[in-house]
Symmetry: C2
């Protein structure tokens, strides 16, 4: 049977490989992974640093050995793919242990190379105490630095996105002083500032030294160590710097092989996860997705999407047929007791698309006011002007607030209008919710503007 | 303007009255309420008994005075309506304070009489230490009995439904010994037994002396006090008995006035909340609802439905136009750390309707296994054989499990099929969920049977 080669041994690659194995017990499947780990929960890294997860092993869903033995997938770690040669249907691979290069043929190739952290572009970025948080290796480096005898007291986080939020919590839980710089007017740029301000406030109240409107401009560094971070608002001393300024699709191999690219240089794929070149597929953070609300291709690096795209690619590579309908831009994060989640489009995105919309924002409670543990919950609902079709929801609030985004995601996916949404029979009991669901209350408010 | 009379001053009645007031500032609105309270959170009663809510006042959303002064709604408490005379467009009312009867005319009448607890039919039920939990008066009676010096050590709860569960928790938190008898094979009859067994197990593990397959057969009583409960499995001694065996629509007035009735003698209404007689409307626990999955009328007594039906009736009575599309049978409850929720139809209901269905049940975790606080979560998904259309979801699990039912309710309302459901972009981050949503995992399992 045709030889399947997969580049990248994490979420998308291994989801696809396992799916093919389930459908084709005899298929030859070879995976090349540059690093030493396969299929680990990269999203769990901040919680490993926080000490909430005891050991890096807990984040590994399956080891290379398990893939080799249980799934009979030839899983080659420490193998870096250097080039794809589509005409010859082969790749050039370097064995990083033996330092040898060789060619490997494929009948079908899946690119699942993930995403690479964005570089700051400033000298000093490579210093020993400047850290990324994208791989288990990075997490281990941070943990090692923190446990080596009280040298680190003050951490500076660059970027107030999901990673920034989660790392701020992690360092607080480790008893450190934490500063954060963020370029925009509020943290969490994927939210509208009028919602994100509640998150900025929570960071400050949690003890984070937060600098908004503050851009990174360089590092003060000497002998491989950074002692301060230079910003548009002055210099901030720090014992450790963590970069959480985002990732970019790792699409260099695809680009050099002449594959068509989409937004942020993500690899262009169709609904089956096929690229524009025969026998080459792509899935995960390196590939584009179709946004179901904007109806445009987007590049979103998230584990859920990677797993689902990998599964779809696997079904098609395994002789079945499946399509990936697209994404809604759903995401969720928390800092201590402040949770936030969003789905669909925000105001900035709607304006960029030139869409006519209405919006409503409400502040209510996660639970009835009389019930213990009730806390503030803010909801913003965006809908199409005229039709009232739901376009997006943002939530910021206390424990239990954010996961409610899933009901909004279902409504968005199904294309519900506000007047339909407000009549859905949602669950109510005092330990779980007020009698009027907060999303419904916001939707009722927004209806007045439609 | 036409005189609006409302019978019943709780969720449905006061939602409607307030809605009309917002639309018609000058409308004459008169509400007759048999009891002394208006608009209180009846669902909060178990938590008042538990001591989680400090004072009964906290459960009162608005007092009769507030309705009179802020909303200019003539709110007559301690007034019992004795009869409706549709031809004469008037009602017969007794002022319970003055012990006087009088006639009151109406141009439009809204019946919002709620539901009455079902009687056991056994002598001794009226004893001082046998309690209902349907009104604030009942809650105060229980609290008084518990606080009068250690007389109550052992409480027996009849019925393992929502009220039974919540009261079991309340009495445990008050430090009492609790027994529960339940007629069926497992508690929570609105769930399938294969899911409800997890709830029975949680009750037992929580220290409840649980007797399943056990029917109430009478009371041992003397001098107005019950000393033991007689059951199909023998006698059980108790210092206090709490009845949680369900409610029935309070539709006697409507029946005597010749209005058409539906399931369980609930008042038949159309989508506008109109009864079959001119100028008479009904909303809340006394009225029927249309079930969107079975496509049949049902009688479900829940505060959310009452509020929403009241709002719809109010819009129509106030000169607007709105329809109540129907319900999904969504409900949620918890006992200590065991949460449960359901939406749509269960297997028993599907069999009764003769529907062809497939089902899948999975046991997974609320959070990734490596994340602190991760606990067991069981999900059952039911779908139409052939089409794969979602028919129902049941969830039992640890903290954070049950509220996820809302995304299933949205999917049900929108008529999603399993193959659509599994591709919805739901939220994921380790503090909130595993990378594969439990409902999606169950749906993927069920798809194999479609």
């Amino acid at each position: 049977m045709a030889r399947l080669v997969v580049i990248g041994g994490d979420a998308a690659g291994m989801s696809a490989a396992s799916q093919v194995r389930r459908m084709q017990p005899e298929r030859e499947i070879v995976v090349f992974e540059r690093g030493s780990y396969t299929s680990y929960a990269a999203c769990g890294i901040p919680f490993l640093v926080a000490g909430l997860v005891e050991h890096p092993d807990k984040l590994i869903a399956r080891t290379p050995e398990q893939f080799r033995e249980k799934y009979r997938i030839q899983t080659m770690i420490r193998h870096e793919v250097l080039a794809i040669q589509p005409k010859e249907q082969r790749i050039l691979v370097r064995d990083l242990e033996k330092n040898e290069e060789r060619q490997e043929p494929y009948d079908e190739l899946l690119i699942a190379t993930g995403a690479d952290p964005v570089s700051t572009g400033f000298a000093g970025e490579e210093s020993k105490n400047v850290h990324l948080v994208n791989t288990l290796v990075h997490a281990e480096a941070i943990n090692q630095a923190l446990s080596s005898g009280g040298e680190v007291r003050h951490v500076l986080i660059v970027g107030g996105g999901y990673i920034g939020l989660e790392m701020a919590e992690a360092f607080l839980l480790r008893g450190l002083e934490v500063s954060m710089i963020h370029r925009g007017p509020e943290v969490m740029t994927t939210f509208d500032p009028d919602m994100a301000r509640h998150v900025s406030e929570a960071l400050r109240q949690g003890g984070i030294d937060l600098h908004l409107h503050t851009a990174l401009e360089g590092f003060t560094h000497q002998n491989g160590r950074v002692s301060a971070v230079l910003t548009s608002q002055g210099s901030i001393a720090a014992d450790m710097v963590v970069l959480g300024i985002g990732v970019r699709p790792a699409s260099r191999l695809a680009k050099e092989a002449g594959l068509a690219l989409g937004p942020k240089d993500s690899i262009r794929v169709n609904e089956l996860q096929q690229t524009d070149q025969a026998h080459i597929w792509a899935a995960g953070d390196c590939a584009q997705s179709f946004h179901l609300v904007s109806r445009r291709p987007v590049s979103i690096a998230l584990g859920t999407i990677a797993n689902r795209q990998g599964r779809i690619a696997g079904i098609n590579l395994g002789g079945g047929y499946a399509t990936f309908p697209g994404v809604l831009g759903t995401s969720i994060a928390k800092f201590m007791d402040c949770e936030c989640a969003r789905t669909g489009l925000n105001e900035r995105e709607l304006k960029q698309l030139g869409r006519q919309y209405v919006q409503a924002q409400i502040s209510t409670r996660t639970l009835p006011r009389y019930y213990p543990g009730s806390s503030a919950m803010h909801v913003k609902v965006l809908a199409e002007k005229g039709s009232g079709k739901l376009l997006g929801v943002q939530i910021v609030g206390g424990p239990g607030a954010a996961k409610r985004i899933d009901s909004a995601a279902m409504a968005l996916h199904a294309g519900l209008r506000l007047d339909e949404l407000i009549n859905v029979d949602l669950s109510y009991a005092p330990p779980f919710s007020g009698v009027w669901d907060p999303i419904v209350t916001a939707a009722k408010q927004a209806m007045k503007e439609v």
